[in-house]
């Protein structure tokens, strides 16, 4: 009879629609990602290497635990954590500030927008190389400008302590635009009514920001932080080009550790295990972070 649908069949209908909508995406994902993931997963329990590319022996969790005695394994995990813990919040705060300003009614928005995009479209290799040139201690423009305002030169990439902060600085220069783009789009899609109503009620800008903007923007903020964190843990290109993990091991991030195991140790099995270790760590950390952010709502 017309108009009478049971709750179950409505739910079932909705579920079916859900699956239909998601199927195209899943097909694409499964075709190209699932095989490599499974391959790598199985490799991690085997003795598959470039020299011996066979799945003929399986060694359980040996590849996972074999690096535990290597102090540089733990060092690179620590460096990666420190790096991400600094880079993500800094990029977020700076990015949100700029996005808020850029969202106001001002002139020249097009120009600012175009400028903000620029670092993002530079290949990390180019960014790394070019900053190396700027930061050359004796012949680079950075120390030259410092000397013009009577400041001493900085040993940007030669000192272990400074190099760590140098790569953070360059990463921020390169990646803050990611945050700006995402947060600005989020701000632009916020409805105008709550703000108009609040202004009528006499709320200040700060009050509006804290009580309307932040809560409404929260899903976008959560996603932005989530994704940036995942990428921060995977940072590779910038470190590879600028410092190769040095001086010493001060910038030796985990991706570079895995790269060495793969292409120098030729040990794909161990590298796969290490990759899955990182996956587990990041997954746990990020899920935890996500729940905290969502719960603050």
């Amino acid at each position: 009879m017309q108009g009478e649908i049971s709750i179950q069949s409505w739910k079932k209908y909705r579920r079916q629609i859900g699956y239909t909508f998601i199927t195209p995406a899943l097909i694409v994902l499964l075709s190209f990602i699932l095989y490599p993931l499974l391959f790598a997963f199985i490799m991690s329990f085997s003795t598959y290497t470039f020299v011996h590319p066979q799945f003929d022996r399986f060694v359980g969790l040996k590849n996972y635990t074999s690096s535990f005695h290597d102090k540089y394994f733990w060092n690179s995990l620590l460096v990666t954590f420190k790096f991400s813990a600094l880079v993500v919040p800094l990029e977020f705060c700076l990015g949100l500030t700029i996005a808020l300003f850029l969202n106001r009614e001002i002139k020249f928005k097009n120009i600012f927008y175009a400028i903000v995009i620029i670092p993002l479209v530079m290949s990390p290799v180019a960014v790394g190389l070019i900053w190396r040139m700027f930061l050359h201690p004796e012949l680079g423009i950075a120390n030259y400008l410092l000397s013009m305002i009577k400041l001493p030169p900085v040993n940007w990439l030669g000192s272990p302590k400074v190099a760590f902060f140098t790569v953070i600085m360059v990463d921020i220069w390169h990646q803050v635009s990611f945050m700006i783009l995402l947060l600005l789009s989020g701000l632009m899609s916020l409805p105008k009514e709550p703000f108009e109503a609040a202004t009528v009620d006499g709320a200040t800008r700060i009050q509006q920001f804290v009580y309307i903007t932040l809560p409404l923007l929260e899903p976008v903020i959560a996603v932005a932080l989530l994704i940036r964190t995942i990428f921060a843990f995977r940072t590779f290109d910038l470190i590879y080009v600028m410092t190769r993990g040095g001086p010493g091991v001060s910038t030796d991030v985990f991706s570079y550790y895995i790269y060495r195991a793969t292409f120098m140790g030729l040990n794909l099995a161990e590298a796969s295990a290490l990759s899955y270790i990182l996956l587990i760590i990041v997954m746990v950390f990020v899920m935890f972070l996500f729940r905290i952010i969502r719960r603050a709502q």
Partner: protein, 429 residues
């Protein structure tokens, strides 16, 4: 009878025509690095195509990425590259893993290729492996000392040195003397701040390459004949100490992070007295369009006599789709006339017939000295895990430069080097 003969003749002529064009229309691909020698050969390729009908395509990548790109190619049954160039770091890895085609038979049936023309040090490094020939030496980058002649010949500096050390200012012939000289030359000179040596402390390749010169010239080595690591013996630790001393007192403050490019520019801008580097840096630094010290630099062997050898070799991978055409190309590019032309245009030679050829010496009068340098140079150990060895040693050297105790650093390196030798199956009890 006449008809029969003419048939035979026609058949023979036809056969010759066919064999001459046997390679026509084939195309081969090589993976190359973006160095001048590659572009020199690229310009000569139309001649090869005209002669043989084979079209050659060069794909150019950066050195560091070449290894990563090659590995999946080499383990597949048929790859994309017909011939490749092998850096000496991988010259022990690729044959040991069984990825290269032995070239002995090809050489035997090709009169144009004379193995004895190559310098023995080059053949040892990028030629033979375990008695079989796997590569033909293409390019050398042996290291030596480049220094400022104007400063060496300056009478004021000479007088000062004599007064301070009681001996005349001269080219150092030992590592200790070199460090002494570099510290002396770190000073204000004609209004510019000069550093004794422009050093490359970036890990892993630059620092290991530069430091190996120190190690070898002090009589040290990475492994002994039984593949036991001896890098932490007296010579090894001394090399670390002297290297650390030079980088702290005789080199620019940023040196621990200098790669090849940064160090080069310090010299080219006139801010360094000397530089341990590849021998073909000399013409670059003497080029008025590229360097401010053009005409003021010269070359000498590494103080202590043994420089680090480096180079590339042509090779045919087992996964090559067209091995015959690949060999045709290699035998052409390494034939004496082409090798000599490459050297005349500015390429880096690997054979004594080119090094000593009249035209080449006329154009590059310092080449006999370079030949001596290349002939006495010594490469890093070549085995399955050379690249990883370099990572380990580079890391420890970088830590030592940053303050870690040299003996402890070399001891830590030794532990890992021993493991690598065992993993490669080379360690002899």
């Amino acid at each position: 009878m006449k008809r029969f003969t003419s048939l035979i003749v026609a058949g023979l002529v036809g056969l010759t025509l066919v064999s001459g064009t046997a390679f026509a229309g084939r195309e081969i691909k090589l993976l190359m690095e973006a160095v001048p020698d590659t572009f020199i050969i690229k310009d000569l390729l139309p001649e090869f195509e005209k002669e043989t009908g084979i079209k050659v395509k060069f794909e150019i990548v950066n050195y560091a990425q070449m290894h990563a790109k090659l590995l999946p190619q080499l383990i597949s049954s048929e790859g994309s590259y017909d011939a490749i160039v092998v850096d000496n770091y991988w010259a022990g890895e690729f044959p040991a893993a069984g990825w290269l085609v032995p070239l002995d038979e090809y050489v035997e049936k090709t009169p144009a290729i004379d193995i004895s023309a190559y310098l023995p040090s080059m053949l040892d490094m990028v030629g033979y492996w375990r008695g079989k020939l796997y590569m033909l030496p293409f390019y050398n980058y042996a290291m030596s000392l480049i220094y400022r002649t104007d400063m060496m010949e300056d009478p004021e500096l000479q007088a000062e040195y004599q007064a301070q050390y009681g001996e005349p200012l001269s080219i150092s012939r030992s590592v200790e003397d070199y460090v002494k000289l570099c510290k002396f030359m770190t000073r204000e000179y004609k209004g510019k701040k000069i550093y004794g040596s422009s050093m490359q402390g970036l890990k892993p390749d630059p620092i290991v390459m530069e430091w190996s010169n120190y190690l070898f010239s002090l009589g040290g080595d990475y492994y002994n004949e039984k593949w036991h690591p001896i890098i932490n013996n007296e010579a090894g630790v001394k090399a670390v100490k002297l290297y650390g001393e030079n980088i702290a007192k005789g080199a620019p403050p940023g040196s621990p992070g200098y790669g090849f490019d940064e160090a080069y520019h310090m010299v080219a801008e006139g801010n360094a007295f000397s530089y341990i580097t590849y021998n073909w840096m000399l013409p670059e630094l003497n080029d008025v369009e590229k360097s401010k010290v053009a005409g003021k630099v010269d070359i000498e062997p590494m103080p202590g006599g043994i420089g680090l050898n480096g180079g590339w070799g042509w090779a045919i991978p087992n996964s090559s789709p067209d091995k015959e055409a690949a060999w045709k190309f290699i035998s052409w590019v390494e034939s004496f006339p082409i090798a000599k032309r490459r050297a005349l245009i500015g390429g880096s030679p690997t054979r004594y017939d080119v090094f000593t050829s009249y035209d080449v010496v006329k154009k590059y009068p310092w080449y006999p000295k370079v030949m001596w340098i290349v002939g006495t140079a010594k490469p890093v150990p070549e085995f399955l895990y050379s690249t990883q060895m370099i990572e380990v040693v580079g890391r420890e050297l970088s830590l030592a430069v940053g303050g870690k105790d040299p003996q402890a650093a070399m001891d830590d390196a030794t532990k890992e080097l021993e493991e690598l030798a065992k993993r490669a199956g080379l360690y002899v009890k």
